[in-house]
Symmetry: C2
Subunit: 219 residues, 2 copies
């Protein structure tokens, strides 16, 4: 018997995204389950009373708290069912980091630095660069630069996914750097080579990671 | 002999992030290389004249264009060297999607919907929810909601990494959905269950992907 405990509302909607992760993981693993809607004040009545948040799953005799722990447990308890974490011969992790870097970081950095790059080009190269880049920017190099300067304070938040990974690992790729790290590093290197603007606070954990990779790049 | 062709500047800075990816990939693979700085106008003089952008790598007799293609080629041509794409027994792909979802999507959705959830709770549950959530938001439920409404037009861009993956695959995890897909789906499901606000344009490719997963969730 498997039961998923979820926060519910007056109209019995179960909104928690963490509970939806578990619902889909249970379906993926073909584990029959029922759900019980509870209110915040009922949380201490579950299991041994130690739970602080939902989801909580009661799977046979075990009580498990938290979507990540539940997903990991389902994966190990039901190994014969389809995996929740497929192997990655298609390099999906690296490709996802690439699409993330290009949409969340390159877009902002490009607006900021295109004007700086233009100033550094040989005069005979500037017209080509300006016209192709302004078409991409949808505005002038100068205006894009000013608009980017006005929103610099938003940049550190864009790196939050990396920052959270660095709480538990030295590199995005594990104990050693690999291509996913280089994808992010290259974006920051680009900005730092051509622009004097400081995008991150000095004590940001991203700075330590950047320094480790920069040493590698210079070896 | 391996040569990396890179765009250079008057002061011989090599700013391109795509070239920096390749530089680090070559070092990772322990491939000795030199670099040649070229200007935009020189691109048509390289190789057979068909190249449109940098980086271009001349590795022994082959010419290769584009950072992704170069990284894939280095990985297959130098299989005895450290891999650029390590296997993923630690579920780094899923964990990275999780940190991305929680920092790029949950933050915005939470500000938008916390007030909607509060309204749907049993009156005896509301004080607890308001005080814990307002502490997390750093403001009132009402103000966070209004501030989020004022920035709704920024939300579609946050899903761009997923949208780009969906250009080439049915699901974030490949031909079949898996836990990385569920992490993103659950965030959107949360918003749609409690809020009438429409966050994505109807023709967004994310909508097709969402519908496929929503059918799965209801089976």
């Amino acid at each position: 018997m498997t039961t998923l405990f979820e926060i519910t509302t007056l109209d019995d909607i179960r909104p928690s995204p963490f509970c939806w992760r578990v619902r889909l993981a249970l379906k993926h693993k073909r584990v029959p389950f029922d759900t019980v809607g509870i209110s915040y004040s009922q949380i201490p009545t579950l299991g041994d009373g130690s739970f602080k948040a939902m989801p909580v799953l009661q799977d046979r005799l075990a009580w498990i708290e938290g979507s990540s722990r539940i997903a990991d447990t389902l994966e190990s308890e039901y190994p014969q069912q389809p995996t929740l974490f497929p192997a990655d011969p298609e390099r999906r992790f690296a490709r996802f980091v690439e699409t993330w870097v290009e949409s969340a970081l390159h877009t902002t950095i490009f607006r900021l630095v295109a004007f700086d790059v233009w100033k550094r080009l040989h005069p005979t190269e500037r017209a080509y660069f300006r016209s192709t880049r302004e078409q991409r920017l949808g505005t002038t190099l100068e205006y894009a630069h000013e608009a980017a300067l006005a929103r610099l304070d938003e940049f550190p938040a864009a790196l939050e996914p990396l920052r959270r990974v660095l709480l538990t690992r030295q590199f995005l790729s594990g104990h050693e750097p690999a291509y996913p790290d280089y994808l992010v590093f290259a974006a920051l290197k680009w900005q730092r080579l051509v622009s004097d603007v400081v995008l991150l606070p000095a004590k940001d954990s991203v700075e330590d990671w950047y320094t480790r990779l920069d040493q590698l790049a210079q070896e």
